[in-house]
Every structure is written in structure tokens, then in C-alpha cells.
Subunit: 357 residues, 4 copies
């Protein structure tokens, strides 16, 4: 696939995500979690402390904008708008896959632009599959990190997305080479955290064990319930046959809430919950059941296509709702929220009882 | 917020509650309770004894009109109509927050009017948050009680309502000062019962333990499933941002049935079940699962805006239905109803098994 | 209430039942029972033996027409049509409450007409509440039995129906007098079986214990899920207040499947399952979970308003379906059907686990 | 029934299946199974090995076209089209009941046509009920096998289909004669595998035990959730009475997923899952919960009415989806898929816990 193609595809993705319904019909299962309201919260809403430490930086709220884009001029604008917003609110952000810029240096500024606007947490992004297919190594990581002065680097695993694309990269064998690449990179370059990330289908506990053994420092569960890549591709693919195929996989994946439980049951390092996080109550629930921080993609994409102010507005709403949810559960810090009581209903109970007990 | 504002807001509340759909989509979970029909009830419907003792008075049925209003001329009329009805039926009633009259003596008669029409149980009402914010003390309680010759005083906790209002009072820290205020008031003024009351989001068992330690004599669970304050504010708030926020919290809260179980599991003093009580079967179920008495707000508000006769009619329907439900479960007294068998279904089972076992 | 009134009311009942939707929204819970299909039934559909012995007679299928009517000319025709049909098919039938004929001898032939057309099982019917209210005794039973040469007599308990009628008879206290009345009647008159019967709200296990202690020989659970008396009265009652009340009770009662389990858990004599039996699969399920025979009212009423042939046709369909269900579960006799395996789903599981374990 | 009639009926079946909605409303319960997505599949989609050994032949995927037709010219074309497709893809196929050709040699070529187009696995088909009714013996089996050079022979049991047809063959008694017939046939003719097959209502574990004792080598569960014979007959039957009857049985049967669990709990030989298999994810789930191979009827019928290419296209889609599902669960062989983790939800949990524990 030539680089031109990648660019066009990435732009198509953005347009489809902005204009079409690309979300899972089957939700995150976060609505199977009920936080317990406290009639006497014993705290002051004004005092609620939402800040956390993440990858060496302090964030004013346990929120990052999930990595989405880069590689073309529209992406540059989106990244810039997000960077301005997270600088203002002191949050973190991820960038989209940096493969385009690895292949074509002219595209670097569509990513690096963010450092003109923020000193906050910025997370790089590379696809795991390229380490196999294109023989990438620690030097590539170095390029990606330096390009944006990344505080951390996310390696995304997207087997479903690749599988349903007519010419996707579908070799996920031999991923253990990441073990050496990670340790070499850390030894020879920078000791920054590595994050294993799904793009909306979730990690299982079996995955988490492998990820842990590879030396990753964090997992972004990227669970199902929000943006569905099968749904996105469904709009793009012209080939009738591939469309049907994508359609049958639009509900595939581990719902975000289930994935948090799966991963947390075997992994005690940093856990980011992305996938279908749509308001501050979702964040509060995710943290109560095991996440350290949440990632948001789609709603921020839509805002970033408008202006940095719009991104700020959307993120402020998330923070405000999170604060109220923390207040109403009597948790004046994220640490307390992690211990907040809750009940689990419906299908999520099945995940817990059959997979984790 | 000046007093004028409070008055306007309170009137707005009443109009919104009367004309708009302000009830939770998610119900009380009382429909997850099934009372066991008795084909041979072994009692006479005419003999069913629904009377209870509550706060030193005898009520002909385990029903109080939940505290709603005061502070403006419409409120005065509403309170009067309710008072006439409960006098006729020998039930009890609460008044709305007396803060307006505490701040402005001219408004006292909008509350005290009730004593011109009834000697039955009347419960005063003050907001917990004002003891923190405005430094209220036992003297304020004394004012409130004397103003209406209250038989009991409810202190309402409304963290959600405050949190979603643009300028709500959101400091619920330091509530333990209520312990001294209550005991001082009881020692120095009148030894009347204190009720801790939610306004539609419910108390958890953790709350109940705190309430108990503060020296309250009773809990009104004020659970979710009936009037939703987030829904009410949703109609009032003009600010788009705050509207969205309120919208996300329209289903927040512990459903009344769950809250009864939560509170009863740790609290063995008087328990009033308010929140979404819409017919006499709801009352029978509430009592079977742990309540001593039920409170009704919204349906009575609508009736009281018409006439005292309408309030009587509505309350009589509740009583009649309660009686039939008691008859059909073979319970000829409220004491027997408390021991009536029942089964629990659906989500309510989750609350019980995960929170109370 | 004068007799004239009873007649009119009974006729109204029939018309309402024929033309309006009078069935429970909440079903019998028989759909929570799954019989286990047998791919190799090991029997011949032609050989399936559905006959049972009931109250001293042999029935060609475990089906009786539930008692419905009497007391006016339309009733006479209905009873006649049913009698012709059950004679042809060798099934059994109940008659409606004989109170009208007890009070007014002129109405006797509206019941006794059945004996001109059938020698099959005929069951008399009296209301339990009249033994209390009107001081009925064994002589009344004698009248009722002799009037129709009854093979058995059903005493119906209808507390819900009475409770929601403006002037219903609602004294169900002192029912233990039935113990003496039953034993005296048996000693001094005829030793025929007594059936305790609900009219569509079901008996609980507590009821079944009482019924057993009174000396009844059989229970007709008359569970909820089919004809709802609250729904029927809803159409008749003009008074707005009583209508609302009836409305709130349209879902009251123990679903037929739950009532079978309840009663069978403590009662090992004859158990008839009436209430919402709408096809032969319902019959097969009822018997598999504990019934000996089923009763059908509403569908037969509608057929009987047309012709005896129509009644035969409807009953033949029930029998044919029952046979196929027995065939497909590999049960060539009712005895085997009683031991057929099944699974229980949904709400019915709650009844069993919370009430019977 | 004369042969002419059989032919017409069979043709009607095909037309009804092609044009009308003949599927169960109640599904296969395969949607109650959730395979666990693997974010790091550790395999290459290109390397996924879907081949299996079945009845002495190797199939490139665990898929057979379920037996459907024969006996008339349209059937001949359908069988031919299927044969071409399975030859191309190296899969297997069953033929419809060979009874027509047993009775009328002129119809043989409507079946034997397949051998002109394929050397792949071909499965013969006879009705169990005819061994009873028509006194069939090993010679009939020999005819059926030789006619098509069958690799295996399926004996179908279709009690529901027979029971709801006006003049169905409904004697399923004495099936133990199959024990001798099978062993004689194997000893005296060919030692090929015998498959006991349902046609869409499923086998229970009790059936599986009998089947095992009869000496069958394999079971095709033919569970409910796909084509419903009651639904098919519903379209054909003119007689109002029989229509209603068929209607009441349109949801009868053991859902395919439940039947796999039932049969697998007592039967460790070859298990084919047919009934409502509608995409490759269904196949993956069936194998994960116990099947060795899946059968597909209705979707292939529709394709085969068009062309062999269309059959290939449909089957390729199934294979592609199966491969992706295997890839996304990290299973690069069917053997691994059999051990893939999964969770079970809803009603299927009831089947497992009440029938198999
Ligand atoms: C337009 C778009 C592009 C994306 N590109 C990437 C990417 O390049 N790398 C990556 O790791 N995830 C990518 N994602 C996935 C997101 O990071 C996130 O995991 C996913 O969208 C689920 O979150 P959501 O439901 O909030 O959208 C992308 C998502 C969107 C919507
Ligand atoms: C118009 C209105 C005003 C209310 N004002 C008060 C109040 O001042 N103090 C209080 O404790 N509760 C107040 N409530 C809450 C009620 O007492 C009650 O807890 C709540 O409405 C749930 O009951 P319901 O579902 O029957 O309406 C008010 C309710 C309504 C509808
Ligand atoms: C029109 C009508 C009249 C009835 N009258 C009587 C009665 O007099 N005595 C009695 O025991 N049950 C009576 N029943 C109740 C039935 O016997 C039966 O228990 C009830 O209708 C539930 O069965 P179904 O759902 O098949 O209608 C009557 C039912 C109907 C529909
Ligand atoms: C038109 C048609 C004809 C069938 N004929 C037969 C048959 O002759 N013998 C048999 O064993 N099964 C027969 N079946 C049943 C299928 O083999 C299969 O078990 C059933 O259709 C369920 O699979 P499906 O849901 O994929 O259609 C037939 C199915 C169809 C649709």
C-alpha cells in the first residue's frame, strides 16, 4: 500500500466517524455497573480532587484523548486543536498511528504540531503488526518518540480492523519480538512507558498476561461498545462481499467494562479504559471497577473538527460529570473512587463469574 | 441567592412538576417485588386495620404526604389543601423546606397555615446543607418547629439536586455537626424525632450508619424511581451545558426498593419509604420489604393544585388499594404486612445479593 | 344484591369476556417452562394414551371445561353446548356458581340442563364467601349437588373479584367452618370430592396447607395469566374511582405455573391447573410440572356461544396438541408425562428458588 | 401416499423455503455464547488451518451442506450445483431423503448426479420412520449408499414434521431394530459411518444415549433456531385446523446450542451441528462448545437455486468468517478452536445448569 493510500484512508476514516453512526449496537456494559449513591457524601463538590499521576506527568483529571490521527493536513488541524485543549485543561493526549510519518518525513509536522501547543502528556502510537510485517525495530520507536517528544508510546494491536479490510496486515504471529525491542529501546534510548492498546475490541486476561510478559508498562483496554472498526469499514468498503463480512463482525469484541475486569484480574500496572466512554459517569464507573484513567476518541474527534474551544467544552463536561459522580459517591479523590462500592448486573455478571472466579 | 430567587425557583418547581414528565425512566424496582397472593385470605376486608403509630401520633394509614412546599402564595394554598385532607383522613404531612420562612418571617404563614386546618402529624423540613453553609444551629430548628408546631423535623440531604444546579450549595462536608445540634436541640428545646430524608436519590447502607450515629430517629429513604430532580432541573435550566449534565444524571440514584433494603439492613428505627410510590400496592410492597410508612409527593402535589377534596380522593384511593393488597395477602394489620412473604426478581436481586449478604 | 342483579351481572360478564380483551398482560409463566424435545420419541403418536381417572370417572383427556356460568337463558345455552361437547369427547365440565339457583329455584334448569346431554364428569360450584356471609351449610351443598347430580363440588374463593367490586362480599374470615360443613356433608349426604378453586389469581402454598386441613380432596389452582377478573370488572364498572382501582390490580395474582409449583410442594392430592391454558402444549407443561388435569374457561366460553360443534372443535385441537407434545417428549401416557424432564427459566426460577427450596 | 405426491410435496417445500420466512422466531441460542476476543491472536490469518477429517475424507473446512433434496428435476439441479461447489471448495454435502428413488428408480439420477461432479464427501439420507412403517432393512440402505457411492449415511428422525402433517408417519416405536440393521449392513455391505440426524428440532441427551446404543457413529443435532418445519408446513397446509396446530409448534425444539451441549455431555463420537448456522461466527461458536463440524441447509438452498458459483460464494463467506473468528480467538486450527474459552449467557445457562450439571 503506498503512502498516498494510507493518507486517503485515514481521511476517509475521519469523515466516516464524523458523519456516520459507527458505534457498536452492543454497548460497553458499563450500564451493567451501578455506583452506589451516597445521600450524605461527606465531601464538598468544590474540593473533589480529580488529578492523577500518569506516565510521569500530573493530569488534572483521569482523562486522555485517545490516539486518533496524523498524516494529512486535516489531521494536523485536529491534533493541534486537541493539543490546545489538553494544555488548557492539563490532561493528556495520544496521537494516531505514526506510520505515515515514519514512511514519509514530510508528514512529521502533522504529528509534531502538538508540541507547539502543549507540554502536557503526549503519547506516541505505532502498530504492532508493522514490527512483524515491516521488520520495524527500536530505531523506528526512537523516530516516533523523538518526532513528538513523546512521554509514552502506545503500540496498538488491531487484528479485527486488519482482518476485515480487503488488504489488511493480518500476521500477528511472533509478537514476542516486542519483548526484546522494548527492552533494547529502553536500555539504548529512553526509559519511557510502553502501552499495549486495542482499538475497540478489548483485551482478554490471556492477552494481558502476554502483554505483561512482553514488558509493557500499561494496557489501554480499548474495549468494545464505542467506535466499531467493523462499522467504520462497513461504510468505506465498496466490495459487497467484504461489507457483509464486516457486518457480521460489528458486534465482535470484549465490552469495555468486561475488558477492564479481564485485564485487571491479572495485571496490576497502569490500566487505561478506552472504548465507548461517553460521559463522566462512564469514567467514574471505569475507575471504580479497575481503571486508572480513561481515554476518549470519537466525541473528541467531532469536537476537534470544529475548534479547540469545542474540545475544551466537551472535556470540561466530562470532568464536571466525573466530579459530580465522585461527589455523589462520596469520593473526594481518584484513589477513593477506586474503592467505591458498586453492584454488577446482567451480562457483566456472566463475564465476571465465568471468567474471573 | 436572594430570597426572591428562592421563591421564584420553588414556584417554577411546582409548575414543572405539575405539567411536565419529571419521573425517572428507571423505576423504583418495587415491580421486582411480588407479594404472594392468598386465595384464602382468612380475613375480612372491612376489618383490615391500616393504622400505625408514627412519631407519637396515630395515623389511620401508613401514609404521609411528603414535604414539598412553602414560601409563596401558591404554596400556601397547596399546604392548606393537603392539611385539610390529612385532617379528614387522619394521616400525616411534611412541609417543604422552611428556609424561605427562616430567612423571611413574612412567609411563615405559607407554612403555618396547616395548623389552622389540622392537628394531625406535621413534619418540619430543613436542608442539611444549610447547617454547613449558613452556620445554622439548634435555634433555627427551634424556629422551624415552633413555626408549625411540628411533631417531627426532617433534615433533607439533596446532593444531586444541588450539584446539578448552576449555583447549588455543594458542601456536604462536616455533617457530623448535626450530631451536637440534634442532641442540643433535643435537650434544650423539644424532644421530637429527627428524620434524615433524601429527595429522590435514596440512602445507601453506609449513609444509614452515619445517620444512625448522628442521632437521627428515622430515615426517609427518598429513593429514585419517582420524581427526578435532575429531570425537574432539566426543564428549568436554560444553560445548554448544564442541561446536558442534568440529563446524564436523570437516572442516578438508588431505586426506592433497593434503598429500603439497604437502609433496613443496618437501621432498625423508623423507616419511611418515599420516591415513586404511586398506588397502594407500592405501599404494601414497601412495608413488606422493610418500611414502616410511605411518603407520597408528586401525585399529591397535582391533586393539591386542584382542591382539598381532590387530595382526599387520591389518598383514599391509595388507602383502598393498600387495604385490598393487605386483604389479598391475608394481612389484617400493618404488623402482619411487615412479615408477609414475597419474592424478589431481576435487578433488585443483584442489590440484595451483592450489597446485603 | 337482589337476584335480578346477579343475573344481569353474570350476563355482562359473559359479554365482556367474549368481546373484550380480559386477559392478564403478565402471563402464566408456562412459557418459562421448556419441555425437552425427544428426537427419538420411542412411541407411536396413534398410541398416545391421554386418558385419566378424575373424581371417579374416566376422562379421555386430562381436560375439563372450567366452571363459568348459569342463572340466565344465555347461560343455559352455553352450558348445554358444553355438555354436548364433553359428552362427545368424554371429558369433564364445571358449572358456574350455583348461587343464583340456590336463591331462585326457577333458574335451576339453566344448570341442570347439562344432565340432559351428558353422563360425564360434572362439577358443581359454590362460593366460599357465601358460607360466611349467608350462613350457608351442608344443606345448600346438597341442593347444589342434587340439582345437577354433581360428581364433585367446587368451592370457589375469589377474594380479588369481590374486593374490586363496588359491593363485593369481602369477608373471608372464619373459613374453617368449611371443615365441619365438608365432613358433615360427606357423612350425611354424599361422599363426593370437594375442590377448592381460585378464579384466576392462584393459590399459594400457605393456602394449600389450609385447604388440606379443611378436608378438601382437590385444588384447582386457578392461577393468573388467563382471564383477569380485574380486567373484566374494569369494563363493567362505571365508577371512575373503582375503575382505577381495578386497573391497579389487573396484574395481581400467582401465575398458573408458579401456583402449580406452590401447591404441589405441600399438597399431594388431585391438582387441577386452570388459568390461561390456551393450547395443548400448556396442558403438557402443566402436567409435567405437577398438575393432574387442566381446566379451560375463556376459549370454551367463546366457542360455546357459537355451537356445540365449535366447542368440540376447540377441545379437539387442545387434545391433538397435547398428544403431539406428549409424543415429542416421548410420553405415551399421562403418568409418563408427569415425569417428563423440563427446564425452568426466568421469573419462574425465582418463584421456585425463593418459595420452595 | 403415492410417489407423485412425495415429489410435489418436496418441490413445494423448496419453494416455500426459498420465498417465505420459515425460520424459528426463537433462535439457536448461539448468541448466548460469547467467544473471547484475543487482542494479540499470536497467529497469522493466512495460516489459519480450517481443515478437518470427517468420515474418512479431508474437508478444507468444518462445513457440510446439510441434506435437503432429491426426487424431481429441480432437485437434480440443486444437487448438481451443490456438488460442483463442494468439489471446488473440498467440503462435504448431504442429499435429501432418498426415499423417492428407493420407490422409483427413475428418480435415482436426481441424486446420483452429484457423483458426476464431486469426489468429496457425500452423505446419503433415509428416514428412520420408514424402517418401521415400510419394513425397510439393510438392503434399502445398500441401495441408497450404492446409488450415490455414499461416504456415510444419515438416518433422519423427524417426529415433529410427521406429527403436524395431515397424514404423517408417526410411529417412532421399535426404533431399536436399527441396531441390528446397522450392524448387519456394516458386516454384510460396507463399513461406512451412520449418522443420526434431526431436521431442526434437536436431540436431547436422552436421545444421544439411545443413538449411541443403536451403534450410530455420529450425531447431527439438527437443532432449532434455523428452518422450522412447523413454519414450512404452515405455508403448505390448507386445512385451517392443522395450520393452527402447526403454528403452536413453530417454536418447539431444542435450540442448536443447547442441543450441542446436551448431546456432547453423553456422546463423544462425531457431532455435527446443523440448524440455524448463518455465518462463520456461528460455526466457530458451535465448534468451541462441542461440535466437530457444522451443517448448513437453508442459505445453501437459496444459493443453489441460482448457480454453483453462488453456492461457492456463500460457502466462501462462511469460511472467511470462520477464519477471522478463529484468528480473533487466537486459534489457528480447528483442534485449538475446540478448546477456545467462551462465556455462556441467558437461557443457555439454564439448559446447562439444569440439564448437564
Ligand atoms: C478516526 C479514528 C482513528 C483512530 N486511529 C487510531 C490509531 O491510529 N491508532 C490507535 O491506536 N487507535 C486509533 N483509534 C482508536 C481509538 O484510539 C479508540 O481506541 C477507539 O476509537 C475507541 O474509543 P471511542 O469509542 O471513544 O471512539 C482511532 C479511532 C478513531 C475514531
Ligand atoms: C415540587 C416538589 C418540591 C419538593 N420540595 C422538597 C423540599 O422542600 N424538601 C424535601 O425534603 N423534599 C422535597 N421534595 C421531595 C419529596 O419530598 C419526595 O422525596 C420526592 O418528590 C419523591 O417522591 P415522589 O416520587 O412521590 O414525588 C419535593 C418534591 C416535589 C415534587
Ligand atoms: C365468564 C366467566 C365466568 C366465570 N364464572 C365462574 C364461576 O361462577 N365460578 C368459578 O369458580 N369460576 C368462574 N370463572 C373462572 C374460571 O373457572 C377460570 O378459573 C378462569 O376464567 C381462568 O381460566 P381461563 O384463563 O381459561 O379463562 C369464570 C370465568 C369466566 C370467563
Ligand atoms: C428444503 C429442505 C429440505 C430438507 N429435506 C431434508 C431431508 O430430506 N432429510 C433431512 O435429513 N433433512 C432435511 N432437511 C433439514 C436440513 O438438513 C436441516 O437439518 C435443517 O434445514 C436445519 O438447517 P438450516 O437451519 O440451516 O436450514 C431439509 C431442509 C430444507 C430447508
Amino acid at each position: 500500500m503506498v503512502n498516498q493510500d494510507i493518507e486517503v484512508r485515514k481521511l476517509e476514516h475521519i469523515l466516516v466517524c464524523n458523519y456516520c453512526d459507527v458505534e457498536y449496537k452492543k454497548g460497553t456494559l458499563l450500564d451493567n455497573v451501578e455506583l452506589i449513591h451516597r445521600g450524605i457524601p461527606e465531601c464538598d463538590l468544590e474540593d473533589i480532587e480529580t488529578s492523577i499521576k500518569l506516565f510521569g506527568k500530573t493530569l488534572d483529571a483521569p482523562i486522555i484523548v485517545a490516539g486518533m490521527t496524523g498524516g494529512h493536513s486535516k489531521a494536523k488541524e485536529i491534533n493541534k486543536n486537541i493539543a490546545i485543549a489538553i494544555e488548557e485543561l492539563n490532561l493528556g493526549m495520544g496521537l494516531g498511528s505514526q506510520r505515515a510519518a515514519i514512511a514519509n518525513e514530510e508528514l512529521i509536522d502533522t504529528y509534531s504540531i502538538v508540541r507547539e501547543y502543549t507540554n502536557s502528556l503526549v503519547i506516541g502510537n505505532l502498530g504492532a503488526v508493522n514490527f512483524i510485517k515491516d521488520g520495524w525495530n527500536e530505531e523506528i520507536i526512537d523516530k516516533a518518540v523523538e518526532m513528538i517528544d513523546a512521554d509514552a508510546i502506545a503500540i496498538h494491536f488491531n487484528p479485527l480492523q486488519e482482518a476485515i479490510q480487503p488488504e489488511g496486515d493480518v500476521n500477528f504471529k511472533g509478537m514476542e519480538i516486542l519483548r526484546n525491542i522494548i527492552s533494547s529501546y529502553k536500555n539504548n534510548h529512553k526509559n519511557i512507558p510502553f502501552i499495549a492498546k486495542q482499538v475497540g475490541e478489548g483485551f482478554s486476561k490471556e492477552d494481558a498476561e502476554i502483554i505483561s510478559s512482553f514488558g509493557f508498562d500499561a494496557i489501554d483496554v480499548g474495549g468494545s461498545g464505542g467506535t466499531s472498526w467493523a462499522a467504520v469499514e462497513l461504510y468505506r468498503i465498496k466490495d459487497e462481499e467484504f461489507r457483509e463480512l464486516a457486518e457480521n463482525f460489528t458486534n465482535w469484541g470484549i465490552p469495555t467494562a468486561a475488558s477492564i475486569f479481564e485485564v485487571r484480574s491479572v495485571f496490576n500496572k497502569t490500566l487505561i479504559a478506552t472504548g465507548g466512554i461517553r460521559n463522566g459517569i462512564d469514567i467514574a464507573k471505569s475507575i471504580a471497577i479497575g481503571a486508572d484513567c480513561c481515554g476518549i476518541a470519537l466525541p473528541i474527534l467531532k469536537a476537534a473538527l470544529k475548534s479547540p474551544e469545542e474540545v475544551v467544552k466537551v472535556l470540561e463536561k466530562f470532568i464536571k460529570e466525573l466530579k459530580i459522580a465522585m461527589f455523589l459517591t462520596g469520593c473526594d479523590s481518584v484513589e477513593k473512587l477506586k474503592k467505591a462500592p458498586y453492584i454488577v448486573k446482567g451480562e457483566l455478571k456472566d463475564w465476571i463469574s465465568q471468567r474471573l472466579d
